[in-house]
Amino acid sequence: MRGNLSWQPDFEELVDEHQSMVFSLALRMTGDRGLAEELAQDVLLELDRNLNKIKSADHARFWLRQVALHRSADALRRKRANAAALGTDVWVELEERHGFMERDSESPLGVRIEELLATLPESQRAALVLRYQEDLTPEEIAVTTQSPVATVKSQLQRGLKLLRMRASQTLKEYVRGA
């Protein structure tokens, strides 16, 4: 990370620059647009509260990714607990919610990939989102998720394999055709 002693955080600029990243991470981790919006808002407000601890633009990006992932994981855990208490299946609910997403503005593959992502285990989903949405290397993912690099590589491999398998069953025309 590049340290910059003269770096002065400008909250508005940071929100402008990172709101899409934070929202997309939350959306792909939770699969719920409303919840993702709430999470993105909370994460950005938490950044405001911790602005004095942020040392550089890179640090801000890293911090936001990490907090967005943690918050999303917490929200999923709460959701699962609520679903268990109500006797509903959170994954069924997630898939149903994905069905209500705005499909018009998104590519069919993008929407379908998000639906399939929602069915992957949380750790694999996080690794795939960081790899393909954020374009992070396995080493960078390991630092963000505070996991060993070998674990991240294995999660990426398994997640990709599982996603590819599910995609090949339902998205054959996109995977092999185009």
């Binding site: 909250f11 508005e12 929100v15 402008d16 709101q19 899409s20 990243m21 934070v22 929202f23 997309s24 959306l27 792909r28 647009r33 919006e37 993105a40 808002q41 950005l44 407000l45 405001d48 509260r49 998104e106 590519s107 593959l109 993008g110 990939i113 795939l128 989102v129 393909y132 949405q133 374009d135 990709l160 394999k161 996603l163 590819r164 398998m165 995609a167 090949s168 069953q169 054959k172 996109y174 995977v175 092999r176 185009a178």
Partner: protein, 110 residues
């Protein structure tokens, strides 16, 4: 299984498509405005809290200064009163002694 038939090139193609499909989504309209408004509100609240704390601290300080001054004046008065009392007692002692001597002389003259 279908996926086993995919070769390395197809896997790379899948990864490329995945990367494209997983590009960042645009943030919802109004998210930035809401966040900035709430951050502004929080800062205002924080400023109001600090202003209150400053006012309370200033009031406590002023009350302590006034109380200290009043107490000092009271102690000063007590000290002055004690000194005056001491002076009166000394004067009375001197007078008593003088009266005693006068009494002695009068007795001797008789």
């Amino acid at each position: 299984m279908e996926h086993n038939e995919l070769n390395e090139q197809e896997l790379q193609e899948f990864e490329r498509k995945l990367r494209t499909a997983m590009s960042r989504r645009a943030a919802p309209l109004g998210l930035k405005t809401r966040v900035l408004a709430q951050a502004h509100e929080r800062r205002q609240g924080q400023r109001r809290r600090w202003w209150m704390i400053e006012r309370i601290a200033a009031t406590v300080l002023l009350a302590a200064a006034v109380g200290g001054f009043v107490e000092y004046r009271h102690l000063e008065e007590v000290r002055k009163g004690e000194a005056a009392k001491e002076q009166v007692l000394t004067a009375l002692r001197i007078t008593g002694r003088t009266m005693g001597r006068v009494q002695e002389r009068l007795s001797e003259d008789r």
